[in-house]
């Protein structure tokens, strides 16, 4: 790798992996209850919440990046809170990117999970209740194992989508090596600086990675259907 890629390229790849991994873990924790609620509620505002979750699918990254930059800035609501908490300001930081990417990738976590939870239906949970399992107990011992393929799909999609993120990072990242300069931005910089050879090498790494992940996902899903 080192022969092909410069240190800063490797650093950007490592940062990308760290960002995507962190976002995936955080969204597993945040997205699962949202997906669970969306899959089971009969509340009237379910539609509204579902639409908000899906917004990043259609919103241009520039819109999200613009609002996040304002919100997380020193006079924005989020910025005021983070300053009061002593966390400083989020733009141009790794955790700022994590927050932005979490918003941006939220539907990629929530929607597959919601579909998986909906496919389980009420019955297994009712059965668990008649077998003395509390709702939380039933969630972890029945719903989660039954939705495991959904969890895997959601995690892979979230990870890869975060890896592929560019617009939002560009708008709030500040391009700091090792902190916010992820691989997609690094490639953009190479292109801007007319370093086409470097851009090609890093782009090829991204291309191969994305293809292999998706190949694994698509090769694995038909098997899953056969098994069930």
């Amino acid at each position: 790798m080192d022969i092909l890629l410069s240190d800063s390229d490797v650093r950007s790849l490592w940062l990308t992996a760290r960002l995507a991994g962190t976002v995936t873990i955080i969204l597993l924790l945040v997205g699962t209850p949202i997906a669970w609620w969306l899959a089971r509620t009969r509340a009237r505002w379910k539609g509204a919440i579902g639409a908000v979750v899906a917004l990043p699918l259609v919103l241009p990254p520039s819109v999200l990046g613009f609002y996040l930059l304002l919100a997380m800035g020193p006079s924005g609501p989020v910025g005021k809170v983070t300053q009061v908490l002593g966390l400083g300001l989020l733009p141009f930081t790794f955790w700022g990117l994590v927050v932005a990417s979490a918003f941006y990738s939220l539907p990629f976590m929530v929607q597959p999970l919601q579909t998986a939870f909906e496919a389980i239906g009420e019955r297994p949970l009712e059965v668990a209740a008649t077998l003395r399992a509390s709702p939380l107990d039933a969630f972890f011992t029945v719903a989660v194992p039954l939705a495991l393929p959904g969890f895997l799909t959601a995690s892979i999609l979230t990870f890869t989508h975060t890896v592929g993120e560019f617009g939002v990072v560009l708008m709030i990242g500040g391009n700091l090596p090792g902190v916010t300069r992820v691989a997609s931005v690094q490639i953009y910089d190479h292109v801007q600086a007319l370093e086409y050879a470097e851009a090609h090498r890093l782009a090829a790494v991204m291309l191969i990675f994305s293809f292999l992940v998706l190949l694994a996902l698509y090769a694995w899903r038909p098997n899953l259907k056969k098994a069930s």
């Binding site: 019955r123 297994p124 009712e126 059965v127 668990a128 209740a129 008649t130 077998l131 003395r132 399992a133 509390s134 709702p135 107990d137 039933a138 011992t141 029945v142 194992p145 039954l146 495991l148 069930s228």
Partner: protein, 355 residues
């Protein structure tokens, strides 16, 4: 005597449930009625899977629901068998059996081993549910419900999803359960055959209401119920094998009021059996002559009512303490001069052994 008192009022957009029941907390109580009559909803309310806004439920002196209390399903000491086995697909048969077992603390009347033995599923324990037949799955589901040591077992048409052969495979296990365990059972069914074989107590439901509730034989013999089971109208008798006539391959079944001859099924003398005598197999005569019918009993007309066809009448007869139903044409009834209190010979053409 400890009873189960259930009173539920539930208004759904498409359906209303309004019941007030008091049934014994022992034996099998069958809930019988057409689909949409509220049997399953009543069972779900009892389990706490459905919450009736107005409701009161007391099981053997313990309040599960009233105006101030609501015990959630997972804290109710019940077992539930759904129409489809609904086994957890991600764990083995044994895992399914242990799932509920692990979550109870009190000493159990039924151990997992006992449940396995009772339902004959010892050879299936390591298998995944997807590799079981429909009948095997339902047996595992029943064993799983028993293994949580229920104080009330709720069964929602556990055989409805199975074909006749599988039903025959499971019914003996249900009868064993009935005979060997002391657990009260609510059994929802729309099959007269299952009800006749298993029930001690019968609750007849229609359109969300209870039409009748009482001991099985008594309730089945009631003539005022709009549901008369059609072709299956008939009486149920509990009897014992009195003697066996080996040369003719017959056995005599004694009941409180007389005895009936039936084909010898190889049962030992003294064995308790349940038989059904269909109304269409009973004829009446005011004097005895030679006849192919061997079973002739001394009876008295207890009630007469309209049958489903305008040309037919349904007659209830008292034979000793037992009740029989007879279906005959109104012309025949008229020529016999039938009226309540009249003494007659009750001729029984065929007896069906239920167990």
């Amino acid at each position: 005597m400890e009873n189960i008192q259930a009173c539920f009022r539930l208004n759904l957009p498409s359906f209303r449930l309004d019941v007030d029941l008091d049934v014994p907390a022992r034996g099998v109580t069958a809930f019988f009625g057409p689909s949409g009559s509220g049997k399953t909803t009543l069972l779900r309310c009892t389990a706490g899977l459905e919450r009736a806004p107005e409701g009161r439920l007391t099981v053997a002196g313990e309040v599960w629901q009233d105006a101030h209390h609501w015990i959630p399903t997972h804290k109710r000491p019940l077992g539930y068998v759904f129409q489809e086995a609904s086994l957890f697909p991600h764990i083995t048969v044994l895992g399914n059996l242990r799932y509920g077992r692990r979550r109870i603390s009190d000493a159990a009347r039924v151990s997992v081993d006992q449940a396995i033995e009772l339902l004959g599923i010892g050879h299936l324990l390591e298998r995944r549910p997807e590799r079981l037949s429909g009948g095997e799955r339902q047996r595992v589901a029943i064993a799983r419900a028993l293994a949580v040591n229920p104080r009330l077992l709720l069964m929602d048409e556990p055989l409805a999803a199975l074909d006749l052969k599988r039903k025959q495979e499971i019914l003996p296990y249900l009868e064993r359960l009935h005979a060997e365990l002391e657990i009260p059972v609510f059994y929802v069914s729309h099959s007269p055959d299952e009800v006749g074989r298993l029930a001690d107590h019968l609750v007849v439901m229609e359109a969300g209401r209870v039409l009748a509730s009482g001991p099985l034989a008594e309730t089945l013999a009631r003539l005022d119920l709009p549901i008369r089971l059609g072709e299956d109208a008939g009486a149920i008798l509990d009897a014992t094998v009195g003697t066996v006539d080996k040369p003719w391959h017959l056995m005599r079944l004694d009941f409180s009021g007389g005895s009936l001859w039936a084909r010898d099924s190889g049962l030992p003398i003294g064995h308790r059996v349940r038989v059904r005598v269909l109304a269409r197999d009973v004829s009446l005569a005011d004097q005895l002559g030679h006849s192919s019918i061997q079973n002739v009993l001394d009876g008295r007309v207890d009630a007469i009512s309209e049958d489903e066809h305008p040309g037919l009448a349904l007659v209830r007869l008292q034979v000793g303490e037992a009740m029989f139903l007879a279906r005959l044409t109104k012309r025949a009834a008229s020529s016999l001069g039938l009226k309540v209190g009249k003494k007659l010979w009750v001729q029984v053409k065929s007896v069906a052994l239920l167990q």
